[in-house]
């Protein structure tokens, strides 16, 4: 047990830092920047039953202290994730990985999770019911407590791995959704996915993104994310994974003080490929500064 050790749904993590889905591919792209085994774990690219190209480009826009994306869940589909990506990952990453799953129907979610349940390296299933960039799926399951519970129940039936439901901030009462997931058997809650937003190009007078709207991430959303993590951690008794604009060791500590058991880092990986390495290395010094001996003191449920 080191100072940084934490536990997430019964699985020990060397540290609480987890690159968030969609910002870390299947891990492989980052092996040229650092040894990814230093991470607590990482959440791989959102995987769906069938392969997806995603939305037309432009899919990316700048915004103050952050970015907007409308990638739309580009991924090779669960079959190729299992046959190609996971064998490649095994070569470079020797810890349990978090499998991020999305879908367009309850049956989609269940089928994809059932396939990934058979993969030894998958430690947790993070079920994304909060993608703002796909139509007829994603976020529509995460904005209604009944639908969120239905997905949770269907996934729990097909897997023995811990199920973490990833929630959307684009709701009036985040705790209602979180509680519905917990009541339906969720082993953990992660939040927040991106906040819906848009930009207009002054020269063309048209939306920058071809999808018109996208999801805002980056430091701009950190206070919103922190508030929702705080509310959720007080409303449920399962572990909460905090994310949204985290880009420093201090942000990680703040998220854990709000009640997070572990912390995901998203957009920061895109502008600084070494972001997670830097954060992990800076954590002990930041803890010293604030008189924290061990992260386990910070009180997030594990």
């Amino acid at each position: 047990m080191g100072r940084l050790t934490t536990t997430l749904c019964g699985i020990e993590l060397d540290n609480p830092v987890i690159p968030a889905s969609g910002t870390f591919g299947f891990g492989y792209e980052f092996t040229q920047w650092y040894d990814i085994n230093i991470l607590g774990t990482f959440s791989f690219k959102g995987t769906t039953k069938d392969p997806r190209f995603g939305n037309p480009t432009p899919r990316i826009a700048e915004c103050p202290a952050g970015m907007i994306n409308a990638v739309g869940l580009q991924n090779p589909g669960v079959d190729r994730v299992i046959s190609e990506e996971l064998p490649k990952l095994k070569e470079v990453f020797h810890k349990p990985v978090m499998a991020n799953v999305s879908g367009f129907s309850v049956a989609d979610y269940a089928e994809t999770c059932a396939r990934l349940d058979g993969e030894a390296q998958v430690g947790w299933l993070e079920v994304n019911i909060s993608c703002p960039n796909v139509h007829g799926g994603g976020m529509s399951f995460g904005t209604d407590p009944k639908a969120a519970a239905e997905v949770t129940r269907a996934v729990k039936q097909v897997t023995s791995k811990p199920v973490i439901m990833k929630l959307s901030p684009n709701v009036t009462d985040i705790t209602a959704i979180a509680k519905a997931c917990e009541d339906a058997g969720a082993d953990g809650i992660s939040l927040i996915n991106t906040l819906q937003g848009m930009r207009i190009d002054l020269r063309t007078r048209r939306p920058v993104l071809r999808n018109v709207m996208g999801g805002v991430s980056g430091p701009a959303v950190f206070p919103v994310a922190l508030r929702m993590v705080y509310q959720t951690a007080r409303a449920v008794s399962v572990p909460v994974v905090g994310m949204g604009g985290v880009s420093s060791a201090e942000d990680v500590l703040e998220m854990m003080m709000a009640g997070a058991a572990a912390v995901e880092v998203g957009a920061a990986n895109l502008t600084d490929p070494m972001a997670c390495k830097r954060i992990i290395e800076e954590l002990p010094e930041a803890m010293d500064r604030y008189g924290i001996r061990e992260l386990s003191e910070l009180g997030g449920k594990n």
Binding site: E29, Q32, W33, E62, T271
Partner: protein
């Protein structure tokens, strides 16, 4: 791919809106023609991807157009300024297919990545023809530099105010063994239709990371989905699928 600190050694205007910036850094490796760098700028979240104009060990030159907030901010950087830069990004042009008489077609701010390519093709002793297209006389740059390499250079302007009137496709030479091109998409489409040989196209797209992580710049090709930042920005003519 590397993340490194580079120092601005020069930053000057070539036209009203096009600038040339020289950067230096001890550990900087020579970049391949057609590759790009991704520059972090104070106060902006996303880096700005800019193609390499010229490069050798320890130094790098880029030519960029002040279009938006990021590139406008770059114009104010003075010699001595230190920048956080991701270098060695993208696949770059493949010189092996050039043949004896390669043709280089550049449009506007798509001209810069062709310079290092022309330089290396000339070093290999190939007869290089270059057609540079601009809207109007005031926007022309690079003619002298390509000529100094010993290339056969033609300049076109859409309004006829300098060189040959028309577009690059109005000035294609009779004979060429292969072509390389970079420019705005309407020009690339015209080049695709007007050329008789195989060739390579360099594309641009809004990027999140520039190194293959975010899937922000994906495109469809005949050989599958590709990331402009990683499997691109250079695609072969035969694999291109035009959107819409």
């Amino acid at each position: 791919m590397k993340e490194q600190k580079l120092t601005v050694t020069e930053n000057r205007a070539l036209t009203e809106s096009v600038y040339r910036m020289e950067l230096a850094g001890e550990a900087l490796e020579a970049q391949k023609p057609g590759q790009f760098v991704n520059i972090r700028l104070d106060g902006l979240f996303l880096r700005r991807p800019i193609s390499v104009y010229d490069s050798a060990e320890g130094r790098l030159a880029i030519i960029y157009k002040a279009v938006g907030k990021g590139t406008r901010q770059m114009t104010g950087l003075k010699p001595g300024a230190e920048l956080d830069v991701l270098t060695g990004l993208g696949n770059g042009y493949d010189l092996a297919k050039a043949g004896n008489r390669p043709l280089l077609l550049g449009g506007g701010v798509g001209v810069p990545p062709l310079y290092l390519l022309a330089k290396q093709l000339r070093e290999q002793g190939r007869a290089v023809s270059v057609v540079l297209g601009f809207n109007t006389r005031a926007e022309v740059f690079g003619e002298k530099e390509f000529k100094a390499l010993g290339c056969d250079v033609t300049v076109t302007t859409a309004d006829g105010s300098y060189g040959k009137r028309g577009f690059v496709t109005d000035a294609l030479p009779e004979e060429y063994s292969y072509f390389y091109t970079c420019g705005p998409e309407p020009m690339l489409r015209a080049v695709y239709r007007a050329t008789k040989t195989s060739g390579q196209f360099s594309f641009e797209e809004r990027m999140g990371c520039g190194f293959g992580a975010c899937m922000g710049c994906s495109c469809k090709t005949i050989t599958g989905y590709k990331r402009i930042c990683r499997e691109g920005p250079v695609l072969e003519k035969e694999e291109i699928l035009w959107a819409d």
